[in-house]
Amino acid sequence: MKMLLKRYKYFLVLLVINIVVYDLYPSVGQKSIDITWSNAVEMLSVIPPIFILLGLLDVWVQREIMIKLMGEKSGILGVLIAFFLGSAAAGPLYAAFPIAGVLLQKGSKFSNVLIFIGAWSTTKIPMLLFEASSMGWKFMVTRFVIDIPGIMLIAYITEKLLNEREKQYIYEQASFK
């Protein structure tokens, strides 16, 4: 019980803040509760298939295979798979981090995992279609074309700026989950 309280302390503090806001500014507080509720419902509808796939990936795909596909020596194949995995997904960015954790744990190259995160955040296929319909094709295509090298650049620079010890720590952390 105490553990549970400790784990959820930030959430509880935020709930109290929300209640205080509701007390002081009922309209803002009410709106905030409405938004939180509708986001929670959305989250619960999007998240189950993502985590089921994550679990299956964890159990069925062997580390050796993952290293071959996305590991240190996977080259262009690893980059392409990272882009594909990220773009084919649906769901908010925070759902991508647990998957990134499993990819790391299975021995994927760190830059490939960052490419996966980058693709998930910006080049998701359903989102691109929606972007084209509301912002126009030119806007969407321009952004898409510059995002591809951008995502790779961010991934490589981030990896380059980490030293071996820091990278090793990330992999160790991932294997605990």
Binding site: Y10, L14, D34, I52, G55, G150, A174
Partner: protein, 159 residues
């Protein structure tokens, strides 16, 4: 629609897995639940923060902040709002297109959308949990800078 597709894919693999190996399938489901439960405290916190934030930063407030100011100051403003808020795409794009109609520039909108998607201040505690402090901060900072490059590209392409 796409979520529905994800359900079909996940369910098909689950059935396939169950046929091949019951034990492994239950293990997979257990792992799925554990990794969900592992991030649940952060997820719930994120949801409440987004709720409070969006209740204050309503679309009208965002448009008054981004819409009026132009130039580099407007872009800076747009990038800051984009970095701290977390709006799902299906709300963000109509908002962006409405902002354009009410007079915001393409570059401001581009930097807003790009930071909105790539930079996540609210989700950074969760990101740190998986990538560590340094990598998470690096990724977000680089994405922030990159968003301005996207904006310049959009500004040139849509002139």
């Amino acid at each position: 629609m796409f979520t529905f597709l994800m359900y079909i894919v996940a369910f098909s693999f689950l059935v396939l897995s169950f046929i091949k190996d019951k034990k492994k399938t239950f293990l997979a489901l257990k792992k799925a639940w554990n990794s969900f439960e592992n991030i649940l405290p952060q997820l719930l916190s994120i949801l409440v923060i987004i709720g409070i934030m969006l209740a204050i930063l309503r679309p009208e407030v965002i448009s008054s902040l981004i819409g009026e100011k132009s130039g580099w100051l407007g872009m800076l403003m747009a990038s800051l709002i984009g970095s701290i808020t977390l709006i799902p795409g299906f709300v963000a794009f109509p908002l962006a297109s409405a902002l354009l109609k009410s007079g915001a520039g393409f570059m401001q909108i581009a930097v807003f959308i790009s930071t909105l998607m790539m930079v996540g201040i609210v989700t950074i505690p969760l990101e740190i949990k998986y990538f560590g402090k340094k990598a998470a901060i690096l990724r977000n900072s680089l994405a922030f800078v990159f968003s301005f490059i996207v904006a310049i590209a959009i500004g040139v392409a849509l002139r």
